[in-house]
């Protein structure tokens, strides 16, 4: 993330990066370390004022800047959604293309044991519901770099939802590759018996579940959706065409989660490929407790995904 932000500030003289504790402290997770020193006033700290931060991003973007705003926890979006949903998402459409809003908002979300109910929510379905917004959810260090770069290069509002559950991942990242086009899912584990569509942290859980199922003779294909808007439906359908079975797994609550959209689209456009009912894995429509014993009983993981795969394959 640090390298993607550095790339953006170095590439675009109109780029700026700001948020709570990002400049002098270098970000709560160190993602913006050194940027203030390197880029001066284009990287700055703000008061704890999410509405003002996001709204200023809209106004600056309309006046030719390329702002990247950090919302420290995705839950904090909820005090300031007006500026995202009513303002940023409307700029290009309502002006008939006469104004643009090249605004990137990076945030992180995760249900981790010990985190309270207001630091644990998953908002991708909210943003995906709003035309005019793009939503990326990286699951690897390389994607964290690539998707953020693609988001910043986009001339429309893009929300990048990272997951702090994966901040400790270690991997070599290629920094000088070409800029990726926006959108596009990826098959991260091939398999012919069932398609598992997931994103963010649960991609790793889905791969672990698939490895477990391989010992039982079931080969699951795992797709990392990477972007929920735009949705790469072709990637889902082409896999489904081969496997005939679909599991959608995410950390957000099941009802109204983005998995519902994937399932509905797969059912309507891939109905004739389906050999079994579509299974959805998610938080079982509940609030999120801080206590690890309770949290782990609810948050989906490799076991819940493996169970869903078994049900789907067995039916």
């Amino acid at each position: 993330m640090n390298e993607a932000l550095r790339w953006a500030l170095a590439t675009y003289p109109e780029a700026l990066f700001y948020g709570e504790d990002v400049a002098l402290p270098g970000g709560p997770y160190g993602a913006s370390k050194g940027l203030r020193k390197e880029f001066g006033p284009r990287c700055f700290d703000t008061p704890i004022s999410e509405t003002a931060m996001l709204g200023m991003g809209v106004g600056a973007a309309m006046r030719g800047m390329r702002p990247v705003v950090e919302i420290m926890f995705a839950d904090f979006f909820l005090v300031a959604l007006d500026q995202v949903l009513n303002q940023a998402a409307n700029v290009r459409y309502v002006s008939g293309g006469r104004y643009a809003c090249p605004l990137t908002i990076r945030s992180q979300q995760a249900s981790v044991p010990g985190a309270c109910a207001q630091h644990a929510q998953q908002l991708e379905a909210v943003f995906a519901h709003w035309p005019g917004l793009r939503v990326a959810l990286p699951s690897t260090p390389q994607d964290a770099y690539e998707l953020l770069r693609t988001a910043i290069a986009c001339d429309d509002p893009v929300i990048v939802l990272e997951t702090r559950a994966l901040y400790q991942q270690k991997a070599d990242v290629v920094l000088d590759g070409p800029l990726e086009p926006l959108g596009g899912a990826r098959v991260v584990r091939p398999g012919g018996d069932v398609t598992v569509v997931s994103w963010s942290r649960l991609v790793h859980e889905a791969v672990a579940a698939a490895d477990e199922l391989a010992a039982e003779g079931v080969e699951a294909e795992v797709i990392d959706l990477r972007w929920v808007a735009p949705l790469d439906l072709d990637a889902v359908l082409s896999s489904l065409e081969r496997t005939g079975r679909l599991v959608v797994a995410h950390e957000a609550n099941v009802t109204g989660g983005f998995g519902a959209e994937v399932a509905a689209r797969a059912a309507s456009e891939g109905f004739w490929h389906l050999d079994a009912p579509i299974a959805r894995v998610g938080l079982p429509d509940t609030r999120v407790p801080a206590a690890a014993a309770l949290n782990q009983a609810l948050v989906p993981d490799r076991r819940t995904i493996a169970d869903a795969i078994r049900r789907t394959v067995g039916s």
């Binding site: 703000t46 004022s49 003002a52 106004g59 309309m62 006046r63 303002q87 459409y93 006469r98 005019g132």
Partner: protein
Amino acid sequence: MPAAPLDTYRDLLVIRRFEERLVALKAEGLIQGSMHLCNGQEAIPVGACRALEARDALTATYRGHGWSIARGLPLAQLVAEIMGRDSALCGGRGGSAYHSSAAHGFLGENSIVGAGMPIAAGAALAASLRGDGSVSLCSIGDGAMNQGAVHETLNIAAVMRLPLVVVVENNVYSELTPIRDMIATETLVERAAAYGMPGTAVDGNEADEVEAAVAAAVARARAGEGPSLVEAHTERLVGHYDLDPQHYRPAGEVERAAEREPLARLRARLDAGEVERVEAEVASLLDAAVAEAQQVPFPDPATARDHLSA
């Protein structure tokens, strides 16, 4: 520099008669949807916009026709936009309450109370980072002063010394409720000190007074000294929206306001013959604008999904 009184009268009259035309067009079924008229408040946008330059940014509220006109948006295109035609402003997508004009630095009206404030501050942020000397003017109503977005923005703009000028049009009512019942202080302008910025209260029915206060705030902003707040007192001669029955207003209030409104005041200082001549001039200007607007085609339904993304 204050304009000649007759010029001010003409500028105010264009806005008043423009909105009267809109009401007539709506009665003919040529405009759909609510309109939030600024009858009585015209001196604020007229005075304030005289203090701006072309390079400056502006945001307004859903009661924004006066600001659009004072900022120089073409009248015919504005009528066309409000009629849902394919205007050069937003192609009919913004309408009465949410149009903008990129060609005029007009970032737009806003139908969410107070939401234009952080956007205006963002324009000021852009100006400040580029060091281009432009300023950003944000017009809000009295009710917006009770919104979180406004509080957050006044603070951050002051902290960052952004070139932002906030004009609060205090027209007595926050939508249908008197502002005095919604705040515990005597005035709104006294809050400026708490944010660490200068605040000035003016008679919003005097364009020259508004212009002077806004010009001082603009000069301060351009000099890098940060934001200012101007509270302009005025009164609505009409409802919150065009069909508002205004049951909540005490008897005689509108009549008393009509004696103090900017056009009536100026008219008393002008030659009756000149007033009549300006009236005719504005009428023919608006005849032409409405006729031209009616020549603007309606947007092609096949384009309804265009411009969602680049």
